[in-house]
């Protein structure tokens, strides 16, 4: 089975977020980037498990400049066989999906896996667009994936239950929590990653379809009031008179 996993970097969750250029750009000065958790913990690890069970290969693909190389190296250390970086600045979902589809169209992947979203912009659009551009079926938010021959069975968490989906390869999927467990790179993996191939591919010519007019930080968190569990009257009073919610 030939598997492609889409990987992107995302700021570490402890990052202090700020913006530059009149609030139109994320300020990445001093920011620690990690592999987007949905890509790493779920998509990549499940792809590796399928490869370990059925044979084949796992390639990771990132759209971005050389500042992505550390997250690529980490994904290789976790166990991917090789990496592709398309040397384009990711602007919007369509432009990124187009780059991926252009590369993937004649590679005959059985399975293209991405995360359900990145934890920074939370767009969640790229895998669906890749599927559309490649004319492949797309399953979003899958929390379980099993393969039997060329047929995949997936579970999707839906309101109040689970949806079971079946699809034949090739297809595109976006992974949600639950699909696999985090794998921490071990020293053997880190050393092996040194000599794994990282192919840098020039960008295809395409423009994004959207642009960001500005970013805003959420309002500061309101103060927390702790009410003693033995004193529900105080809670009712606060909700009624202060918060005016009841």
């Amino acid at each position: 089975m030939k598997i492609l996993v889409l990987i992107s970097k995302a700021p570490d969750t402890t990052t202090k977020i700020s913006f530059t250029d009149g609030d139109t750009k994320f300020n990445d000065q001093g920011v620690q980037f990690v592999v987007n958790p949905y890509d790493e913990w779920y998509a990549l690890v499940r792809a590796l498990e399928l490869k370990e069970a059925n044979g084949g290969s796992v390639t990771i693909l990132t759209v971005g400049d050389a500042t992505n190389d550390p997250v690529i190296r980490k994904a290789l250390a976790i166990g991917a066989d090789g990496a592709v970086r398309i040397d384009a600045q990711p602007d919007d979902a369509y432009q990124v999906a187009y780059q991926i589809a252009e590369y993937a169209k004649d590679q005959n992947y059985d399975l293209i896996l991405g995360g359900k979203e990145t934890i920074d912009y939370n767009g969640g659009q790229v895998p669906g667009m890749v599927a559309s551009l490649l004319n492949l079926p797309f399953v979003s938010n899958a929390s379980k994936l099993d393969m039997s021959g060329n047929t995949a069975t997936m579970e999707r968490d839906i309101q109040g239950g689970v949806e079971l989906v079946e699809v034949d390869t090739p297809f595109v999927l976006s992974a949600a929590k639950g699909m696999a467990e985090q794998r921490i790179p071990n020293m053997r993996g880190i050393m092996a990653a040194r000599s794994k191939p990282l192919q840098v591919v020039p960008a295809a010519a395409v423009d994004g379809l959207t642009s960001v007019s500005s970013y805003e930080l959420p309002p500061a968190k309101a103060e927390v009031r702790i009410v003693d569990a033995d004193n529900p009257e105080e809670l009712i009073d606060l909700l009624h008179n202060e918060a005016k919610m009841i």
Binding site: P70, R73, I184, P185, N186, I190
Partner: protein
């Protein structure tokens, strides 16, 4: 008891920019493993004074055993900065965990690699690198601590084997180690290293109980009562007091990094606590006296980070001297102890409980300031370097 680990590293002078991408990956992976497998259990094991043996394979996997040993012997072939970073992550969690890795790497694998022959390297190093085999290092004796050259443990050439007699004390990992690198005098009074294996007749390893420090690390004695050691177990390529002291240079270097980890953990907890704890209607971090403590802690950590990184570069170039290593070990352990004490005060009463790692670090560091050359002995090493006059006796 604390089972969650909210640690965030502190890098005030952007020292990370001096590290390679691989260094950072090694450190992040070690930290992730620690947070997942060790932090949740360490307080419990320390309180019960037990070594968590189940972490040994994991320590092997993250490369904590012999990171700088060449890959042909099962090591990772990494540089000294990578070694330091791993020690820092381990000691950030617990000095006892770091001690186990230090001993295995610098005091067991290092002498077998540097002073052993090819057969010994092939026989022991790959298993030591995975943690399948564990080792300990016997230098200190009941009557010879700071003055190991006076040791009584000795061996006689009996033709087919060496006959080993004597006793070692304060030996980390001894209660469960499979092998011991033992320093003993031959009939001519010259110090040699011998590999003694568990199961050899007359060899026992009683555990030392009642420690208030390094409680999650096992410490014990090594007792040799007419132990017949095969001649093939003598380390042939170096003898004299310089041989064990060479191992100590490598271990002390790792401790210099490790102590920064313990200091960072105390500081990190103190910063968080001072923002969360409200007294007089304000977070205590709003008071100048608390801010002074925090500012001084961060200053000392940052100075130690710079000193130690530079030492790592010198060590990579083969230029780090014993005296330079002494300075870093001594400075950083004292720095960590002071920070642990200040951080304990910031945590108020909570600081003495197992809810926070502070008191455990503080007690651990009381061993770290004594082993691998006491705080004062390092002054004498520096004093000797400065004046050319040894003041040891």
């Amino acid at each position: 008891m604390a089972t969650s680990d909210r640690f965030q590293a502190h890098d005030f002078y952007l020292m990370d920019e001096l590290l390679s991408e691989e260094h950072r990956l090694i450190r992040e992976s070690a930290r992730a493993w620690i947070k997942k497998d060790v932090s949740p259990i360490i307080e419990d094991y320390a309180q019960r004074a037990e070594f968590p043996k189940q972490i040994l394979p994991g320590l092997g996997e993250i490369g904590a055993f012999g990171p700088y040993i060449p890959t042909e012997y099962g090591g990772s072939g990494l540089d000294n900065i990578a070694y330091g970073l791993i020690m820092q992550e381990l000691e950030r969690c617990d000095s006892g965990v770091r001690s186990t890795a230090s001993v295995q790497s610098s005091l067991v694998m290092y002498p077998i690699w540097k002073y052993g022959n090819e057969e010994q390297r092939q026989k022991y190093l790959p298993k030591l690198a995975t943690g399948e085999m564990m080792g300990c290092f016997g230098l200190t004796e009941p009557d010879y601590g700071s003055n190991p050259g006076g040791m009584i443990t000795n061996f006689k050439d009996e033709g087919d084997y060496y006959l080993l007699n004597g006793a070692k004390m304060w030996i980390s990992n001894s209660p469960f180690a499979d092998i011991a690198v033992v320093w003993a005098k031959n009939e001519a009074g010259r110090i040699h290293g011998l590999i003694v294996e568990r199961g050899m007749e007359g060899f026992s390893t009683p555990e030392t109980h009642g420690k208030w420090s390094l409680r999650a690390s096992a410490t014990g004695e090594l007792v040799f009562d007419n132990v017949k050691v095969p001649k093939a177990n003598l380390l042939p390529n170096k003898s004299g007091l310089g041989a064990p002291l060479g191992c100590l240079d490598s271990a002390r270097y790792g401790i210099a990094w490790g102590a920064i980890g313990a200091a960072m953990d105390c500081y990190d907890s103190a910063v968080r606590y001072s923002k969360e704890r409200i007294q007089f209607d304000k977070p205590i971090g709003a008071f100048q006296l608390i801010q002074k403590k925090l500012a001084e802690m961060l200053t000392e950590i940052t100075k130690a980070q710079m000193l130690t990184w530079r030492l790592g570069v010198l060590k990579n170039e083969g230029r780090a001297t014993t005296a330079q290593i002494s300075m870093a070990k001594r400075n950083n352990v004292e720095m960590a102890l002071n920070i642990a004490r200040e951080a304990r005060q910031i945590h108020g009463g909570m600081g003495i409980t197992g809810e926070y790692p502070i008191m455990r670090h503080m007690m651990n560091l009381e061993s770290v300031v004594t082993y691998e050359g006491t705080h004062d002995i390092h002054l004498l090493i520096l004093g000797f370097d400065i004046t050319g006059i040894p003041a040891f006796k």
